[in-house]
């Protein structure tokens, strides 16, 4: 953004965000233009490598003392890696009354070292199990009855016996899909407390080991054989084409279903909270972080206020396939699936932070966890070594 002030002086500034969400970003920019027609802006979508390119660009700019006005990233412990280069947006939170309209987890996770460092734009849900309706019907499985990880494993067995479809499709060319599957499985099987203890650095080794045992059973028997050579997009395609029954993913996967032709919610695909984690919403935030030494403090404040506003959150999230982080938003413009998600979000008993997307552990821990998945748990599945590695990685 560059502000065109009276008299023609301009304060330049730019915002950096992920490109995967191009359409959502366009909607966000259009809404911003409507709200602030006088402000010029420069929105740089950067894509590829699951935000890795974005991270690299941002890291270089911050390191070189040339920060963007704001950049998209995850709040929570992920903020630790930006130690010393983030400013504070307490005044934006206060003037916009964000504390009153955002869920408590958003309030907590956007603070670091006693100040607000970012503003949330939207939220994805992580503990999701999606399925292809006709495949589960053919197998005679009722997804809604799956309320434990062992019930899920039984259902996968049934799919394998009754149909030609892949019981659970998994794209494991990157390790992150397995790491996030670990998180949902641990939450569903070992419960909220065990999961939170794991994130907090006091893991119960037996719980971690039991989670990996279930994972080894799922990954060792019920996933597609080409898992290691495909990624999320191809894996998700197995659901759309009816080649697979289930997939675990964040609900960005549902964005692909909406874009697929003749593939409708409840008719062709369905959603089930990951077995065992009913009543919980594993949190993810898309947020805008505020660098200190900001090139355009005033306009950036305007933008941050806008990012947390209803207009921005509705414009962005309906295209991103995520939901507003405000609980006072009119959801009528969203489809039925996201409306349900928003309801789950607002009414959730617990909203545990995710493991793989910045909210649960600092980025270095996350890298260490993924190193463990890569070396011990990408087939063959070495339960003990993986459990030991995970416990070591998070332990304080």
């Amino acid at each position: 953004m560059a502000a065109a002030a009276e008299g023609g002086t301009r304060s330049k500034c730019s915002t950096v965000g992920p490109a995967a969400t191009a359409r959502a970003a366009e909607a966000l920019v259009a809404a911003f233009d409507e709200e602030y027609p006088d402000v010029e802006h420069e929105f740089n979508p950067i894509g590829g490598g699951g935000n890795q390119n974005l991270d690299a660009v941002v890291a270089n700019r911050l390191q070189n003392g040339d920060p963007p006005s704001s950049f998209a990233n995850w709040p929570g412990p992920n903020l630790q890696r930006y130690e010393g280069v983030l400013g504070e947006v307490d005044d934006v939170w206060e003037s916009e009354g964000f504390e009153d309209v955002m869920v408590q987890e958003a309030v907590d996770l956007h603070q670091y070292n006693g100040a607000y460092r970012a503003v949330p734009l939207g939220s994805h849900r992580l503990n999701c199990l999606f399925y292809n309706t006709s495949v589960v019907e053919e197998a005679g499985v009722d997804p809604d009855s799956l309320t434990s990880v062992s019930a899920l494993i039984d259902a996968l067995e049934t799919v394998q016996n009754e149909t030609d479809a892949i019981p659970m499709t998994h794209g494991a060319s990157g390790t992150w899909t397995t790491t996030q599957l670990f998180a949902s499985t641990m939450l569903g099987q070992e419960g909220y407390e065990a999961y939170m203890n794991f994130l907090d650095g006091s893991p119960d080794e037996a719980a971690v080991q039991a989670t990996f045992e279930s994972l080894a059973e799922i990954l060792g028997n019920y996933i597609n054989e080409d898992a290691s050579s495909i990624g999320l997009t191809e894996s998700n395609q197995n659901i759309i084409e009816g080649n697979a029954a289930f997939i675990h993913q964040g609900n960005w996967a549902a964005g692909a279903y909406r874009n697929a032709e003749d593939f409708n919610y409840d008719e062709d695909w369905g959603f089930k909270t990951y077995p065992g984690s009913e009543g919980m919403y594993m949190l993810h935030f898309d947020s805008f972080l505020y660098p200190s030494n900001n090139p355009s403090p005033d306009v950036t404040d305007q933008f941050m206020a806008f990012a947390g506003s209803e207009a921005a959150q509705v414009a962005f999230n309906q295209y991103k396939g995520s939901i507003p982080t405000r609980t006072d938003v009119d959801m009528s413009e969203f489809g039925p699936y996201l409306q349900e998600t928003q309801q789950d979000f607002a009414e959730a008993d617990e909203r545990p932070p995710n493991l793989q997307h910045g909210l649960g552990v600092p980025s270095e821990t996350m890298t260490a966890l993924n190193d463990v998945i890569s070396s011990e748990f990408s087939g063959p599945y070495n339960v003990e070594a993986a459990a030991e590695g995970f416990v070591d990685a998070v332990s304080n």
Binding site: G49, E225, N370, S374, S375, G379
Partner: protein
Amino acid sequence: MTRNTDTGDDSGDALPDGGVAESGQRSGFSPVSALNERFGSDFVESSQFWLPPFLLVGLFVYGAIIWNLLISLTDFTGFGTPDYGDLDLEMYSRALADSGFVDAAINTFILLVGFTLVTLALGLGLAILIDRNIRFENTFRTIYLLPMSLSFVVTAQFWAWMFNFNNGVINIVITSLGFGRVDWIGNPDIVLWAVMFALMWQFAGYAMVVFLAGLRAIPDEHYEAAKVDGASTVRMYWRVIIPQLKGSTISASVVLMVFALKAFDFLYSLVGGYRPPNGADILATKMVREAYANLNWAYASAVAITLFLMTLGIVGPYLYYQYNRGNL
């Protein structure tokens, strides 16, 4: 800058020792003439041509390497400025204790040696075949060279599809031959060889062109003499022709080894991220991961320096060889 003909003539034909003494006596000490006499007749006068690029390369290449070395001796992480006051080799000892680093270094070395040797052999074979006055020679040459003109980003995606366990063309071929399917990407014992195979496919054409040029430079008489002496074709190539390809072999292998060290692009595109499949991590990917995922700048610099030393270990002897032959 005017040319001092006196000094120029002196240093041009006189022995350095005598020249220095003479000019010192004749015109007093002059830095220009001293430099000219030390480094050659036009050292100062020609500096306007070579000095700017010399300084630029010195600063941006060698300066950056030295700076990188300095950073690797600090404990620099996160944002801010490194503390140059406390330099030690901690990052290097950390690297040696890091099994991920050791694995990556071993993989880099295997890739380096294996890829280079096989590609050279394949390139030589192709070059000899093409050199047999076959029909459609140019067509074949183009076909073999074509993969090299493709970007790693493109070829990595090709190979990701071809290596697919279920519907990749490679597994389709080997199952139709009666063998079991192979998990090329997912099996940590195989993936490095699969990557090596893909790189070999891409660069064999380059080795072929280099060898072909070498073969064409060998006079026809050598072939004829070998035939007159009754040597078989195999024997002729083995004893007469291949020994004359030393220069081509050395220059091709240096380029290939440098490509092997840069396999980062291929691995990055193969999985769309900084973390290659288990068993295929190399120093380059490890370095980028440490730098940008963990912001461990000092540690990443130590990995970079290790990679640099490996490269130097390859290019150094080559430069020395060329220097001894008077090519530098």
